[in-house]
Amino acid sequence: MSWMLPVFLLLCLGCGTIKRVPLYDAFLEGAKEGLETARYILPSLVAMLCAIRAFTACGLMERLCLFLEPAAAWVNLPRETLPLMLFKPLSGSASLAMLREILNEYGPDSRAGLAASVMMGSSETVFYTCGLYLAAAKVKKSRHIIPCALAAWLAGSFMAGALV
């Protein structure tokens, strides 16, 4: 799979060249936006990484993982990834922080690291996304949205265990 990234980047550049996009200027404009995104997520990333690290340092995370072990075995996921699975629908920055911890603690190419990486991309922050759009739609009854979104989240997590 190591060809994936260079091919993807070449495709991006190729698209731009064919359509005569000013490559450099377009890149700079996008890069500025990317930097702003990083600045925007920094405070919540600090908060969530601190909370998670405190939870790990006092020994509770290990207990939680052991407690969740049966559930992890059921979906065939490494038990270290279960906290990430639980955070995923709740908070984007908490799951980003959790993914960072798993990648650094167990290694990005370990089974836990790979499963966590796949899981991270397989669903969105369900409650945040739904809350935001429901508020925009001025809708009070959300009907089957949350159960169906959580079904999708479960399926994605299950796939992470099955594919890695």
Partner: protein, 187 residues
């Protein structure tokens, strides 16, 4: 809700640490984590700048419009007559922006789409339900933050997860759509 996650986890961890004699280490670990969060954000900032720069080239090349043209007949079929005509465009644009990982462009379009679908008697329409479930199940083709974090953690092949991630998110989206269609029949 986030305040409960943050407050609850931190307070509970500190209390637990204090009672089991590792209170100092717990507090110390938090300070260390704050420092490392900034390092992580810097690594992410570089990657975001890079990928957003690249994606902006693709966007300027009209990829979103092209993809949108291919997607809109499909979406029209998927959503059925329940989708107000004026909502098709923002729905398509939101989903294509999400596919390309242009989160900043996707959100305003999604809000516009939701607003146009929200006319009614206070209950979400079938189309709005389906739209939100698709959005919540994530449809990004290239998970840039995951790749960036993997690279920062020293992975030998950061992009190795692209294909499995695509399959996983595809399955989760299909399950979301299928469960929505089932729920529509029941209600």
């Amino acid at each position: 809700m986030l305040q409960w996650i943050f407050g609850g986890m931190t307070a509970f961890a500190l209390l637990w640490g204090l009672t089991s004699g590792v209170g100092e280490q717990t507090a110390g670990a938090m300070l260390k984590a704050a420092e490392e969060a900034v390092q992580t954000a810097i690594a992410l900032a570089g990657a975001y700048a890079f990928f957003c720069g690249m994606m902006n080239i693709v966007r300027k090349a009209g990829a979103a419009e092209g993809l949108g043209k291919m997607l809109s007949p499909l979406l029209l079929r998927l959503f059925g007559p329940d989708l107000p005509a004026e909502a098709l465009e923002p729905v398509t644009m939101n989903l294509t922006a999400n596919l390309l990982g242009l989160g900043n462009a996707a959100t305003p379009m999604g809000i516009e789409a939701a607003r146009r679908m929200g006319k009614g008697n206070g209950a979400a329409s079938n189309a709005l339900c389906l739209f939100l479930v698709i959005n919540a199940s994530s449809v990004q083709l290239f998970p840039t933050s995951v790749i960036a974090l993997r690279a920062a953690a020293g992975s030998a092949d950061p992009a190795r997860i692209v294909l499995p991630a695509l399959i996983a998110t595809g399955v989760s989206t299909i399950v979301g759509i299928a469960s929505c269609k089932c729920a529509e029949r029941i209600s």
